[in-house]
Symmetry: C2
Subunit: 235 residues, 2 copies
DNA sequence: GTTCTTTCGCTACGAGTCGTAGCGTAACTG
DNA sequence: CAGTTACGCTACGACTCGTAGCGAAAGAAC
C-alpha cells in the first residue's frame, strides 16, 4: 500500500483515502482549482484531471467491466498520463472505490408521510441506481475484491455501505415520530434492527437485479414492502 | 467459447458445459477412468486430473481471490501442465463455475414440521456455506463476471441459482400441506412469490455475510425469520 | 504383439498489462 | 526572480495470457 507518492507529499490533498473526491462537488469546470482553502507550495494538482479520471473510470467500467478495466486505458481515455493515475491512486481498487462512491450520494430519505411510502421510494431510488451499467459492473466487483482485501472492505463500508444505513435510521425515526413504530427499548436492539432491515433491503434488491437479473417493477416493490412491513401491513 | 479441443472430440466427456464434473462423484482415486460408459478411441482423459484441477481451483480461489487466480498457478498446484487446463476449459470463468457449483449441492430442504423451523434450517445451511472461504471468494467474483458475460450469467443461474429456488418451492408446498400457508390462487402469482422470497433470503444472507461482514447467529436467524413470516409470526 | 488415436508434460512464443523510474517541462508560490 | 510541485512522455523488467509444436505415454482396435 505505501507505493505511490515518491516524495513525502502531505496526504491531505490526495483523494486516496482521507478525503473523498466528492467533497468539493462542482467548482469551476474550466479553471482547475478555485478551492481557496489551504494550498501547498508548488503546482497544484489539476482538479479537472481528477474529474476526468473518475469519469473515465466509470465509463470504462460500464463498457469493459472490472477485468477489462486497465489503468492505461483509463489514462488515455481521460487524456492523462498513466503515471498521473499512480501518483493519486495506489491501485485499481482505490480508484474504483472513489469513482463509484459518488454514485451513492444521491440517495435520500424523502419523508413522504408514511413508512410504506418512504420504503417504496428508497427502494425505487436504489433500483434506479442499480439499473445503471457502471453501478452494476462496479458494485459486485468491489464487493468481491473486498472479500480478500480487508482494508478495501473497510473503505467500502465507510464510503458506500454505512452512509446508506443512515437512510434506515432516518426512516425509522420518522415512522416512530408518526407513531407507526414503537420507540426503541434499548440502543443495542435498535442497532441490530437497523442492521437487519438494511441488509434485507440492500441485499434483496441487489440480488433481484444483479443475480436473478430481473427488473424492479412498482408491483414488485409493493409486494416486497408488504413483506417488510409484516404485521403492520395487515393488522 | 469454441476455443479448446483442437480435434473434433465428442463433447460428452468434457466437463465444460454439458456434463458437470460432479456427476461421477467418487470413482477409484488411483485408477483414472472407471467410467465404463461410452469411450472414445485414443487415450482417455484422466479423471484424476479433473478432480485435482477443480480442487486446486477452489483452494487457489480461497487463497488468492479471483484476480490473483492464474491458470499457471492452478496448473502447477494441480500437478498438471497449463495446456491441459486449456484443453478442457476455454477460460477461467468456465473453470470456476464448475469448481464452485458443486459446493451448493449439499443444500437440502429438511421438512422439520413447521415453516419457521424449515426457514431457520435453510438459512443456517446457507450461512455455513457462505462462511467457507472458497465460497466467499468465488460467489461474488462469479456474480461480478456474470454481469458482463451474458452466457456466464445464464450458466450461473442454471447451475447455482435455479437449483436453490427449488428449496423455496419445497418449503412452500410443505407449509401449504400443513395449512400454515394458503394454497396458490394462480401459478403466475405463486411464481412471483417464490422469486421474491428467494431473492430476499439469498440476498439478505449474502449481504449480511459478504458485504456487512457480520456473522449469522441463531439470534439473527430468529429475527430475520420473524421478518419473513410477517403476520404469521404474531397473529 | 502391433498399429492407431488421443492425451500428456514440456518448452517457447508474441501480445498485453502492471507498477516504477527518469527526464524535461508547465504551473504556481514566495 | 528562485523554489517547489505536478505534468506528459518514454522506457523498463516482471508477469500473465492463450497458443503452437514437439516427443512420449496410455489405451483401443486389429
Amino acid at each position: 500500500m505505501p507505493a505511490a507518492q515518491p516524495p513525502a507529499s502531505p496526504e491531505s490533498t490526495v483523494p486516496t483515502c482521507t478525503e473523498p473526491a466528492s467533497s468539493a462537488p462542482e467548482a469551476a469546470h474550466t479553471t482547475p482549482e478555485a478551492v481557496g482553502a489551504t494550498r501547498a507550495k508548488g503546482r497544484p494538482r489539476s482538479a479537472a484531471a481528477d474529474r476526468a479520471i473518475l469519469a473515465a473510470t466509470r465509463e470504462a467500467l460500464a463498457e469493459l467491466g472490472w477485468g477489462g478495466l486497465t489503468m492505461g486505458h483509463v489514462a488515455s481515455r481521460a487524456g492523462v498520463a498513466k503515471t498521473t493515475l499512480y501518483r493519486r491512486w495506489p491501485s485499481k481498487n482505490e480508484l474504483v472505490v472513489d469513482a463509484v462512491a459518488t454514485l451513492f450520494d444521491d440517495l435520500v430519505m424523502p419523508d413522504l408521510g408514511s413508512l410504506r411510502a418512504d420504503i417504496e421510494a428508497v427502494v425505487a431510488q436504489f433500483a434506479d441506481l442499480l439499473a445503471r451499467p457502471e453501478t452494476q459492473a462496479a458494485l459486485l466487483a468491489l464487493f468481491a475484491e473486498g472479500i480478500r482485501d480487508r482494508q478495501l472492505h473497510r473503505r467500502i463500508r465507510e464510503a458506500i455501505v454505512d452512509p446508506q444505513k443512515r437512510l434506515v435510521r432516518q426512516g425509522r425515526s420518522a415512522a416512530q415520530a408518526r407513531g407507526e413504530l414503537e420507540a426503541d427499548t434499548d440502543a443495542e436492539s435498535a442497532r441490530e434492527e437497523v442492521d437487519i432491515i438494511f441488509d434485507t433491503i440492500a441485499g434483496t434488491v441487489e440480488h433481484r437485479v444483479l443475480v436473478s437479473g430481473e427488473p424492479i417493477t412498482p408491483e414488485w416493490t409493493r409486494r416486497f414492502t408488504d413483506l417488510l412491513l409484516g404485521p403492520l401491513a395487515t393488522c
